[in-house]
């Protein structure tokens, strides 16, 4: 049950905030590619959370889903273009190579994030949460899916993004 707008924020907000703020920023940053925008999203998410009665034990899942949704809304509404412009001004054109043989340019990361906004929402959120470190069980609980279907959902999202990258690399 949500609280009414006039209610004070929940008593445990500070504790939950300290515990989960990095997670929420991390989820949003994966979607947006911008720390500043991710922190803005985190503010929105915790403001909303502060007016809910979601049990603290379920907060992590609620906050993660809210962060992903809110950040994806930002991407979908085109706000990320601003972030990209800001990022372009301050960052070198770096490459990320977490895995040998996997080199992704900033341009490609941009294409993937844009494609994220076009994925079916459940796919996009599941993908982001899993890549943000949430376990299969956590993602399943947060999205009301079976753990088995989380794997399928993530796999299909990754496949769709891979196609997007290929399309981006080889424009018609």
């Amino acid at each position: 049950m949500p609280r009414s707008a006039g209610d004070p924020v929940r008593d445990d907000l500070a504790d939950v905030f300290r515990r989960d703020y990095p997670l929420v920023v991390g989820v949003a940053a994966r979607v947006l590619g911008s720390r500043d925008l991710a922190e803005d999203v985190a503010q929105e998410v915790f403001l909303a959370f502060g007016r809910t009665s979601v049990p603290a034990s379920e907060a992590r899942g609620w906050l993660s889903v809210a962060a992903a949704h809110t950040a994806l809304n930002v991407v979908r509404s085109g706000r990320r273009r601003v972030a990209r412009e800001e990022a372009a001004a301050v960052h070198q054109d770096t490459v990320v190579s977490d895995v040998a043989d996997t080199v992704v340019t900033r341009e490609e990361r941009r294409a993937v994030r844009s494609a994220l906004g076009r994925l079916p929402r459940t796919q996009a959120v599941a993908l982001v949460l899993r890549h943000s470190g949430l376990s299969y069980a956590d993602v399943a609980a947060a999205l009301d899916l079976s753990p088995t279907s989380v794997g399928t959902t993530v796999r299909r999202a990754e496949s769709a993004l891979r196609k997007e990258l290929n399309r981006h690399a080889s424009p018609d």
């Binding site: 949500p2 924020v9 940053a29 922190e39 403001l47 502060g50 979601v54």
Partner: protein, 369 residues
């Protein structure tokens, strides 16, 4: 034996303990599954790299908490509402929109920048400094428009949204997307017929944070000295939220808009730090802003209850009128081809425009329901 599902194969990559022994044994001896597994790993690695963020972010959680603690409760339930889990309800969009209207004067100066956005929560001790109630005409020649200073030269101009203007099916969808009451034209003027094309735009927000250092550099490049900023201005911000809005367009046979009826959330400005009047007056004194425009902007009421409306002075004349008792501004092109009536009422700016005469437009405006 059947092959494991694609979900099970994907899970083998990063949570093998969650996959059944039978599936794990199958994959070891199945070339087809091994191929699929390799493909899944390739995709997962690529996406992980693409979504990677800076490692070990140096987050200032304490500062973020202070920011949250001082945030406006009015906007508390805005952007995350889309994530409200099943069984929970969120505040209606209209209520959120009306509760959290903000805009800095910056947007009025940043010509060409359309503001509309996505419910960014007020994140500092934002103090509401003006709320638009009336529209005041400002004449700006086309040459002045391009000469207006890009405020990014004087500080950080941060947009957190774009209008994302898009067509919608009907007024009901427009209302659902924007939370606005879509104005209904009760009787189309003569020569206008058919159904309108409806477009909606989202809310956006912009924050301008003044930087004395940057402003001094810009002034030096312009060959002028930077006026002495008032105390406390350096680093202070003005912020403006705009939108959402809805536009209905009836086309004429010639293809030009015969009638346009638009409504959007009217601007309200917030300032953190220096008083709004100080920010406004100082911005207006910056090198690059035409003196006559600056003088007109300075005539705005101290509470900022007017909305700067730049129009090309050599093409448009302005006059005053009333729409249902509300003061309105009438704009007419000098060749008589287009006219518009604009007014602000109850936090909403409404415009009726088209290739009609002013009386016809005022008739449409007065009859809007």
């Amino acid at each position: 034996m059947r092959h494991p599902t694609e979900g099970a194969l994907r899970r083998l990559l990063d949570d093998p303990a969650g996959v059944s022994d039978a599936d794990r044994r199958h994959v070891v001896d199945c070339p087809e599954c091994l191929d699929e597994l390799a493909s899944a790993r390739e995709d997962a690695d690529l996406v992980d790299a693409a979504l990677a963020t800076e490692s070990d972010p140096d987050l200032d959680v304490a500062a973020a908490w202070r920011r949250l603690s001082t945030a406006s409760s009015a906007s508390a339930a805005s952007a995350a509402s889309a994530a409200t889990p099943p069984g929970q309800t969120s505040r209606p969009r209209a209520a959120r929109t009306r509760a959290a209207l903000r805009r800095p004067l910056v947007a009025a100066l940043a010509v060409g920048v359309v503001l509309a956005g996505a419910g960014t929560a007020a994140a500092n001790d934002w103090l509401q400094v003006f709320r638009t109630e009336r529209v005041a005409p400002v004449s700006i020649a086309p040459g002045d428009l391009v000469a207006l200073p890009d405020l990014s030269a004087y500080g950080e101009l941060r947009m957190t949204g774009e209008p994302d203007v898009r067509e919608v099916a009907d007024a009901q969808e427009a209302a659902e997307l924007t939370g606005l009451e879509v104005p209904e034209v009760t009787e189309l003027p003569r020569g206008v017929s058919g159904r309108p094309v409806l477009q909606v735009g989202d809310e956006v927000s912009a924050t301008f944070t003044f930087s004395r250092e940057r402003a001094a550099r810009a002034a030096a490049e312009a060959g002028e000295a930077l006026p002495q900023p008032p105390p406390g201005l350096d680093g202070s911000s003005v912020r403006m939220d705009a939108g959402p809005g809805v536009v209905q367009t009836w086309s004429s046979d010639a293809g030009a808009p015969a009638l346009v009826v638009a409504r959007a959330v009217a601007p309200t400005a917030f300032s953190s730090g220096a008083p709004f009047e100080s920010v406004r007056d100082y911005l207006l004194s910056l090198p690059g802003l035409p003196d006559d425009v600056a003088a007109q902007l300075r005539t705005f009421t101290a509470d900022g209850s007017t909305l700067p409306l730049p129009v090309p002075a050599d093409e448009v004349t302005t006059s005053s009128a009333e729409v249902a008792g509300t003061p309105a501004t009438v704009l007419q092109t000098r060749d008589g081809t287009l006219a518009a009536v604009v007014w602000v009422d109850d936090g909403m700016v409404t415009a009726v425009a088209g290739s009609l005469d002013v009386d016809e437009l005022l008739g449409v405006a007065g009859d809007l329901s």
